[in-house]
Subunit: 475 residues, 2 copies
């Protein structure tokens, strides 16, 4: 429970003195408590109480209380962190980051789970809708909720430029600033090393950008990226990494992996807020051994979640699928796995089948703005003459606000006359389509029939539209 | 009740053969019915049944049934029309257009009333939010409802160009096309005679426009305007008129009034749908006698509502107020009075005090898109540096979605980075602000203290911002 009399509230966060790892290997029940799931929550709360009462955050007191529980049918890992009040953010109320693996598919490597955060749970596999600059383009938080969104992604580089991390922090962090009462993930700016390749100089310590807005010089390195992300206050933040376009030379890949590992270590050491989970990013292109080396190095540093960066950045979808099929099962089973910047529905299904839990992509919103609507059967290009007289919703049976209210003919009209409502309504549909897709994926995993769902999509999906397969382009 | 076996359904409407006026001067109860309000509804329904059963719409049968009732404390006028099925629109279910004057203010000429339409009642005084091309810019129908909107305005000229009246009709008319389950008013295109002055040639029979989109030649005259509005299917439609910029020469005003009267007569004769109320428009600039002559001519033609056009088109606000104060009380007491294209909150309050019931203006949405937010105290220009750190909502106590969720600092950020959400959220606030203003006006009239509310606004309102006082510019 938040303590409103706590003198720490409103102060800048202290450096956390504990060196206790977030993940503790063996269950250590508190006296008189049974080792079951409900009690584990009490144990964690107990630890937090200890931390709060003693105020010195004694690592051993915390270590003795945080618990890993392995149930017969599920692997549940408490990635708990001590209580530490943070400035201007909703008071961290003692909930812990927790990855709860509920089911593994028998026919594929798919996993069904939940990642708990201070702003609520994320049902995995999950798709994060992108709000680069602290807003999903044209869609309000209420509409995002109605469309089924649980978690959003915002961008460190863009928010650092405008309005500036200090301004977001002044407003209580991203969740309050943008009024999204749910989990948010911020990327680290590492992706802009790739996407703004013409505007940056890279060295071993970090990256110097010339602002795409006014030419202003901006320096990003692991320390600065994490400092910004600590100020932005998302539940999940990302280590600063170096993403390279594929195909790349072995030397380029090697040096990007070396930097990514060094920067991951520096990111973790720079991280100051215990109500944020810092995920590591694995680089290494399509080279299995290089990726494996990178992953091992990151595991040695230890992160509560691992992302695959540097995919969908120039290689073919088939190359990516082959790589994912081999590599994903080697990633830690007890942490969420995040495939950055992917992708089309078929990409997501194949990646889920290989064991990925978390996705983000600009496709639903960018395509929505460009009059392109997702349906199971095909992508509808709404400016097309054929929709002029159509009374049909975008997709029959879709429960989204757009499909429940507007015929295709009206949506076409909105795009032809340039009304903002067109991009808004098709974005809403596309966001809801992706969230429904994830919901169907989760149901299929629970029912042991993800392979059937994947086959269904493979049969329906036409050969990829090159314009659409590049998911990783900026929002 | 709709009759699903009626062979007329789906056919094009026949010319209504009755010459019965919509408004009948004396109550003529049907046999065995008492002359009270509930019975009047039965009488009207009875008339409709007669009309439907006999299918010849005998004027006398209708005349004997439609009733005007005057209650001791209210003037209620049944402006009923015979049943006539219309193509592709929700079946007209026998409800009547009805202006119900509930209270007249004692200190001012303000009126509190309700105008009933087939798509629901409009509480008067009312402000219509503008959706020129069949959409309020950036705001969904659900958000409009939440902001308190009852009635929208759409534009005949713009919809005739794109998508075309036939397309809207094919989609079931405007209410279905744009999914607005409430009353809509379409203007006649007469305003474009004024606003597109460089792109049109005017003659005694009508106006020839060169499309502002592609130079295509478009002819609008009373017949065509009404034909388009019949196809668009709004509950309230407007006679085709000629609006002139002020100041104008006496000759120009005289000729515009002569045309407006001829065109009003032609509009009424061209009107085919009895589930739409056709309002007349009074022109004549600031010349009281000319306006009075125009009004009398329109009353001779007889319309269920009268609008004042050609105001807020170049004269000063004070000139307009003076004119309204003199002229409005001479307008029929038993019909709604609509002041077209006005205006700022203070304009609306003064016009209400002079007896106006209905308003429309682009200010809430256009200002919203331009980062300008209405509050009682002042207009906030949200790009201003002063809002950078503001945690405040746009207006304390405002119940709108924007004020309940977003600080000014966030809204400023959205405008500075060019996020669509900025225009959307401030439009929502401004629309809600106007609807709340109308609600406060109605409450004040009911409580007999409109004069106090007007004084309150007069004290608060700074001298008019010239940029803002031109309300009648295009959406």
């Amino acid at each position: 429970m938040p303590d409103n009399n706590n003198p720490e509230i409103g102060k800048r966060p202290r450096r956390c003195v504990t060196t206790a790892r977030w993940l503790l290997p063996t269950p250590i029940p508190l006296p008189g408590q049974r080792d079951d799931k409900n009690d584990s929550a009490k144990q964690c709360h107990g630890a937090l109480q200890i931390g709060r009462r003693s105020r010195d955050l004694n690592p051993n007191a915390i270590r003795t209380a945080f618990t890993r529980m392995v149930h017969p049918h599920r692997a549940s890992v408490a990635i708990a962190v001590p209580y530490l009040p943070s400035p201007h953010v909703p008071l961290y109320d003692g909930r812990v980051f927790n990855y709860d693996l509920r089911t593994s598919d028998t026919q594929t490597s798919a996993r069904l789970g939940t990642f708990s955060t201070p702003h609520g749970p994320i049902d995995l596999p999950a798709f994060m809708t992108i709000g680069t600059r602290g807003a999903v383009r044209g869609v309000t938080p209420a509409q995002l909720r109605e469309a089924g969104c649980q978690v959003l992604l915002a961008n460190t580089y863009h928010l650092a430029l405008r309005p500036g991390a200090d301004i977001v922090q002044h407003h209580g962090g991203l969740p309050r600033f943008m009024s999204w009462n749910g989990p948010i993930l911020t990327d680290s700016g590492g992706y802009q090393v790739f996407s703004l390749a013409d505007l940056r100089e890279i060295d071993d310590a970090g990256v110097t950008f010339r602002s795409h807005l006014d030419g202003q010089i901006i320096r990003l390195d692991p320390q600065r990226s994490i400092e910004i992300q600590n100020a932005l206050g998302a539940d999940i933040i990302m280590a600063f990494d170096q993403c390279v376009r594929l195909p790349a030379t072995p030397d380029d890949l090697e040096s990007s992996v070396a930097r990514t590992i060094r920067w991951a270590d520096a990111s973790k050491r720079a991280h100051r807020r215990d109500d944020q989970a810092l995920f590591g990013i694995v680089q290494g292109g399509l080279d299995f051994n290089l990726r494996a080396r990178c992953l091992q190095a990151l595991r040695d540093i230890d992160f509560p979640g691992y992302a695959l960066g540097g995919l969908a950045v120039g290689e073919s979808p088939d190359q990516m699928y082959d790589f994912l099929r081999q590599f994903t099962p080697t990633m830690p089973h007890d942490r969420p796995r995040y495939l950055m910047g992917v992708g089309r529905p078929i990409d997501i299904l194949r990646a889920v089948a290989s064991g990925i839990d978390l996705f983000d992509c600009v496709l639903p919103t960018r395509n929505g703005r460009n009059a392109s609507a997702f349906t199971d059967a095909r992508t509808l290009k709404l400016r097309n003459e054929q929709f002029k007289l159509s009374h049909d919703p975008l997709e029959a049976g879709c429960p989204c606000y757009t499909c429940q209210n507007f015929p295709r003919g009206y949506l076409r009209h909105l795009f032809l006359v340039g009304e903002m409502l067109g991009p808004i309504l098709v974005s809403i549909h596309n966001i809801a389509y992706y969230q429904r897709l994830m919901s169907r994926i989760r149901s299929a995993i629970a029912a042991g029939r993800l392979a059937d769902l994947l086959r269904e999509f493979e049969e329906k999906t036409p050969s990829p539209d090159p314009e659409e397969s590049q998911c990783s382009s900026p929002d």
